[in-house]
Structures are given as structure tokens and as C-alpha cells.
Symmetry: none
DNA sequence: TCGTTAACTGTATAAAAATACAGTTAACGG
DNA sequence: CCGTTAACTGTATTTTTATACAGTTAACGA
């Protein structure tokens, strides 16, 4: 996400605060008054800039049509990450399917939801299409299920580490464990699975 | 706090939902459109009533000037139902484990969460200890997973009906289908499964 | 049977809000 | 030195939005 100038930061903070205290976003005129602008257009162009940089969304033709981008606001739910392309960061825009109104407290500190691909964890009750609640904690204990990246591919497996030898274990006899020697191969932990969500998908 | 009429409840819920999804409160016109009123005044007077009863505050002269009263804001979430004793209604106090902050809209109109016992639906990715989001709709289609009560026992199975013959199918070869002839046996549908939630349980 | 309330229809209108267009000034980078 | 961008001023003009006023219908309790 593109950096904000100090002034922009100031304005963005104020908008956030305003939503939190009044329950709805401010108008251009309110922004103008609060910052002492002599023109509503000062507010307008600031909003446009914040929108362009991805910090909020403007719904045009709508009074107070300001929606904070997820992650910047309070709760707003968790981002849903779909197919992650090789080499892409996991929260890349291209991989984002949207947002779901999930309380972060429902799961133990989940940071995002990951759409499951494939059946390699079937016997752990994790099916294709399920959403995994993932916390970005990178200190898995043996036996926990992790989201890891090996050879630029994102995979969900059960974590077993013995010294520099890591086994990423599937839970489906049709799949083979992925063995990684930390001395010679790269492995990045994207997070630890802390919950599962399935909606519809039952027929 | 004064009680709301069913219609008022409906409208209040919708407003809450709207704020959650769009990030700002609705206008009178939006309420009008959504409920099919032919007059904006219908929306206006509903809002006044909700304000009078203390469920929200109206800021006059302000576009979208609706603020939810504290406490009504979040939604208490859904009740978690644990072991249901034979003969007890499913939402009996004795069976209640508590509440979880789950947005009703996350699942398609879930009314409560049911703690899964046993492994009879294992191959559908439903494991012991999971929470099923259940809607109290009693019109399952074939292939859907239902919460039913046979011989006073609550069970979760896949629904197949052919005339007066109902098969409640497990998804685990270790279990047998429950066959019910509606002419001779009683069967009560408690609801349809619309989602699944698993928290922790991975170690 | 009558007053009251919920739940609306129908019509207007003033105020609030978004937003376009045309400038200005100062800082920064090449 | 020049183009670009941030950060504004100033003015106008639609749209949105809130909200008043005048009714109607059906249900409910006294």
C-alpha cells in the first residue's frame, strides 16, 4: 500500500476516529470545517488521494459514501485470500476474493482467511473450498497445521520439525509428505491455522 | 428497553446489517427501496419509532445520521448448543454452552450453532467437536445436511426423501443409514446445516 | 364503539452533500 | 529550469437526503 504524506495520515486518522465516534463517515464539509479549509474541494481531493492509495473507497453519488479499506478500520472482518500465484505475497490484491464479517476474536487472532485448494488435508476435515482462518504467527509447534511456502508454492500441511529437518505432512494417504532441509532449501511460514469456516458447499 | 414489534425488529436488523456491510448507515430512501415502501415517510416513521424506543439515535439535519444505541451494536452472536438430552427442545437452556460472536449473515441465516458429537459425517468433513451453523428451516432438499430428531435423539445426517420414505445418510462407512417411514415413525426436522465452524481443535 | 397505535401511501420542499471547473503556491527531483 | 505533485482557494451546480403535512387501513384494548 502506497505511503501517505503526514498531512494525509492526519486526515485519514481523523476520518477513522470520526466513524468510530459518530457511527458514520464525515462529509466533505465536515472535513473542511474540522481542518479549517476554505474550500470543500480541499476535502474532496484529499479523499480522492486516500482512495487512490487504497486506504478507503468512495461510493459516488452517495452522502457520506466513505468506506474504509479493510485492515485500516477496526474490525470490518477478515480478508479472504483465494488462489495465491507463485511468487506473489499472500495478501496481494490479485489474490483477494473479498471480505467476510468474521470477528477476529472468534478465532485465536486470525489475520486472514485462506480458500483451500485440493484435498491433501481431507482426513483432517479440511476440504477443497473451505476457508482457513490463519494467524500470521510464524512459530508453529509440532503437530499444528501451517500455511507454508515451498518453492514459491503456498501449501497447507501439518508441521513437524526435528532440528533442521521439516516435514510438511498431508492428511490424505494419496499425498506424500514434503520434506524440507532448512540448510539447503527455503521455506517460508505464512501463518498458523487457527480455525476453519465452511459456508454453503454442502449442496 | 421497550420491546420491538416483529416488523420493527426486521427493520432494525436490516439497518445493523447495512452498517456492517457498507460501512455507513442507510438513508430513508434506501430503507424505502429495500422494504418496498412507496413512501419515504414509512422509513422515516420507523426510524422515529426505533429512536423513541431507544434502539438508535437520529441526528437531525444530517444525511445518514443514524447511530445505533450502545449494546445493540455488535449483535450478541449465535447461541451454541451442546449435548441435547433426549426429549429436550434443542434450544433448551440446559443444552446451551454459550454464545459466539458470529455474524448471522456470515452463514445463510443461521439461527444457532450445534456442537457435533460423533464421527458419522466424517467424510463430509464434519468432525467431532465442530460447530455446525444451523438454520431453522424445515424444508430440506435431497442431499442437504439436516439436523433431525428421530426417537427423541438429535442427529446430523444427509437428507434423502422419496415419497414417505426418508433416508438419513451418514458419511462414514462405519455407520448405517437411518430409514424412516413417515407413515409409521415420527421424525422432526430441527433445521438445515448452512455452515461449519472449527476453532482450535487442530492442536 | 372509540381512541390509540402500527404500518403504511402520496406529495412536496428545503437543506445537506457531492462534485465539477478554474486557479494558486510551494516543495521536490531530474 | 521545468514538470509534477501536494495542498490548498473560490465558485457553482446538481443530486441526495431529511423531513413536513395530509391521509388510509387494520389491529387491539378499554
Amino acid at each position: 500500500m502506497e505511503e501517505l504524506s503526514p498531512r494525509q495520515k492526519e486526515i485519514f486518522q481523523w476520518i477513522r476516529e470520526r466513524i468510530a465516534t459518530t457511527g458514520f463517515p464525515p462529509t466533505r464539509a465536515e472535513l473542511q470545517a474540522s481542518f479549517g479549509f476554505r474550500s470543500p474541494n480541499a476535502a474532496e481531493s484529499h479523499l480522492r488521494t486516500l482512495a487512490r492509495k487504497g486506504y478507503l473507497f468512495l461510493q459516488e453519488g452517495t452522502a457520506r459514501g466513505i468506506r474504509l479499506a479493510a485492515g485500516t478500520g477496526e474490525a470490518a472482518g477478515l480478508p479472504v485470500v483465494g488462489r495465491v500465484a507463485a511468487g506473489q505475497p499472500i495478501l496481494a490484491e490479485t489474490a483477494m476474493e473479498g471480505f467476510l464479517p468474521v470477528d477476529r476474536e472468534l478465532f485465536a487472532g486470525a489475520d486472514f482467511l485462506l480458500r483451500v485448494q485440493g484435498m491433501s488435508m481431507r482426513d483432517a476435515g479440511i476440504l477443497e473450498g473451505d476457508l482457513l482462518a490463519v494467524s500470521r504467527r510464524k512459530d508453529p509447534r509440532n503437530g499444528q497445521i501451517v500455511v507454508a511456502r515451498v518453492d514459491n508454492e503456498v501449501t497447507v500441511k501439518r508441521w513437524h520439525q526435528d532440528g533442521h529437518q521439516v516435514s510438511l505432512m498431508p492428511e490424505n494417504p494419496d499425498f506424500r509428505p514434503i520434506m524440507v532441509d532448512l540448510r539447503t532449501q527455503s521455506l517460508e511460514i505464512e501463518g498458523t491455522v487457527v480455525g476453519l469456516l465452511r459456508t454453503g458447499g454442502f449442496l
